[in-house]
Symmetry: C2
Subunit: 403 residues, 2 copies
């Protein structure tokens, strides 16, 4: 085998990059015998395939340049205008200069990390937080200020105490609705208190609202961004991220960030060097599909389907899982978080679970500064209700045996 010469030339920060043990383990979940609650995948049988196909056909026929030519870094203008309306309905009023289309909200996280993190910068995150955000920021080498999360979401009083004690994070990253991984939602009182803190300590907030539309009770929680606009007339403290990945199809890799124009300007400059612009066809076909009313037809159907799956998983928990295991019922999103007795080790448990053809993600990697080895994340959107029941029946004895 020929030695690679590139290894001699890797930049210093690439030392942060390592292959994930969990990723390697989860490769095993690809076997058809495994019922996997590991991925954060939408239900593929629910994709609005025909309607997206029709939208692609229509937009390529009517406007091939919009669908196929190089486009603006900022995003396809008609889709931006449509998003402005869409955000208005969430009480988040923005103008074009406050909006950027991205390759999924994952890209927004990466771009934000690039322009806001110097090596060693402190950034505040929920504990636990979205693993993909931590992955995307590894190369920028931040220090994490981890803020506990309970059944009402981020512990705002704990954050306040950290700020009073002199912590100076560059920003707080938060999933305010149906958080990944815990499924919890920031309570209305804490939303107000968090905005107070932002003003008092000049603390920018990155609000990732990937799951907000997937609510299973009567009402969608109000985004922090809406509160920011209500108080300050426009987005001042909050950069608001969301995506079509969970509502239409993640393969289209189309998300967005709404924030004050000064921040969007910088993001556009960075994005241009990164990939010139987001896929034109995906943006144009989403525009076409949304104009044709697809979101109004499809999202209620998704909510209904996922609610039933969540309920199936909760019912299976009640019936099969040992009493030492606890969880908070998620009011939306795609995940339930299990907390086991402190001595439990869910990394070890995963190996045994895979032997029994069932998979989950251990909690450890969601904790920026370590911890949580007695926790696990279970996804309920991807498997059918029958598979959910069968999978929990496989998992329960594994948990029983290891606690």
């Amino acid at each position: 085998m020929v030695r690679s010469i590139w290894n001699n030339y890797f930049a210093q920060n690439t030392a942060q990059l390592t292959n994930s043990v969990i990723r390697d383990l989860l490769h095993l979940t690809e076997q058809p015998s495994v019922i996997s609650f590991a991925g954060g995948l939408p239900a593929p049988e629910c994709f609005p395939a025909e309607e997206l196909s029709a939208a692609a056909e229509q937009i390529i026929a009517n406007n091939p340049v919009a669908a196929l030519q190089y486009g603006l870094t900022e995003g396809y203008p008609p889709l931006r205008d449509l998003l402005i309306e869409h955000l208005h309905a969430r009480q988040i009023d923005v103008c074009r200069e406050e909006l950027l289309l991205t390759a999924g909200s994952q890209q927004a996280l990466d771009l934000l990390g690039r322009i806001l993190i110097d090596p060693g910068s402190t950034i505040a995150v929920e504990d636990p937080t979205y693993l993909g955000a931590l992955q995307s920021w590894r190369l920028y080498n931040p220090t994490y200020l981890t803020v506990p999360v309970d059944a009402e979401g981020l512990d705002v009083a704990a954050l306040e105490q950290m700020l009073i004690n002199g912590a100076q994070p560059r920003f707080l990253y938060i999933m305010s609705c149906f958080q990944n991984p815990t499924g919890v939602t920031l309570s209305p009182a804490r939303r107000e208190a968090l905005l107070d803190l932002a003003v008092r300590f000049d603390l920018p907030i990155i609000e990732d609202d990937a799951y907000g539309e997937l609510y299973y009770n009567d009402e969608r929680p109000q985004p922090l961004a809406a509160l920011d606009v209500a108080r300050h007339g426009r987005l001042r403290y909050v950069a608001y991220l969301s995506s079509f990945s969970k509502l239409l199809a993640p393969g289209l890799r189309t998300g967005w960030v709404a924030a004050s124009s000064g921040l969007i300007d910088k993001l556009v400059q960075v994005k241009q060097g990164t990939d010139l612009h987001t896929n034109s066809l995906a943006q144009a076909m989403i525009y076409q599909a949304v104009c044709d009313g697809l979101l109004e037809r499809h999202v209620p159907y998704l909510r209904n389907t996922y609610r039933q799956r969540r309920d199936a998983m909760l019912a299976a928990f009640e019936q099969h899982v040992p009493v030492e295991v606890s969880w908070v019922v998620p009011e939306g999103g795609m995940f339930i978080w299990l907390t086991l007795p402190p001595y439990a080790d869910t990394m070890e448990m995963l190996k045994l679970a895979l032997e029994h053809d069932v998979a989950f993600v251990p909690g450890l990697p969601f904790y920026a500064n370590g911890g949580g080895s007695n926790t696990m994340r279970l996804n309920f959107s991807h498997a059918s209700r029958d598979d959910i029941t069968a999978g929990i029946q496989r998992l329960a004895p594994v948990i029983e045996r290891m606690i």
Copy 2:
């Protein structure tokens, strides 16, 4: 107006980001009265729209999960396998572990910059070089070693002298065929000499071959990557970048990088945090279209069309442009490069040209360390032959007046 709080938190390297004067000027080219030779755009009337639309319909119907679900960071496996065959035909033998699909080759440039450039690292580039590469690497703050380019491409002897004198670039970035911006192609003798240098000085080479298939003589120049494989059995010194942007449609944002597996591994790790993976639908529909023989039908048609446009531009030059202006006839690609007398200032000339409803890109920004203010880049792929003739008739008197 509310002050943006984000500005207080920008990372230090964002000081490298500035709005381009040229970009602002070129916004003026969007007026329909302007004949623009500025952009690097394919001819939109040549897009294989119907065939791409049919491919989208087919793949969504037959394999909605491939087209719409989250995919592998490495890329859609069937498209990777197809690319392996495609590269084999270019005498570049690679296996799956040596190949990564990217959001256009622009993303490959960005990912390579991230893992190979430390602040202050020296990297070697052609002088002039692709503006988009310089833009993508701004944030990583390299020092540039600029190597002159003449009618036979990179001056390899000059590079050799620099290396003998102790220059230690992390890599050389080169467009070996129909270079952007000059249109020149590295001669066969220099290709061999460059590979000799790579071996002698352990110099990695990033070969960007975005235009190689658009050749207007009988033969496609052999990529450096093919030479590397011929000499070393597999890709050792060369990372090979290319894309479907110029062959099918840039809006699909699908490119790739082929290189030794150690480098690809790192790129995959970084890409995962950047955007998870490249657009699934674009990859799957390209796979479908290429299986259906689209490249074989379409690329010869593009070559023919662009060759005629190049010839129309050359004919207009011969007839209208002052004798003080010189150029090298490009044997492929999308650009002709004009060199004016040393005292000419093409930035100033652009302002006057825009008053006469014609546009080009001044040469200055393509020079990493400055220079070239008497040069300009003209694109011949986007405008029709009639517009090319009319545009050069507008441009010639502007040049005449300012030299």
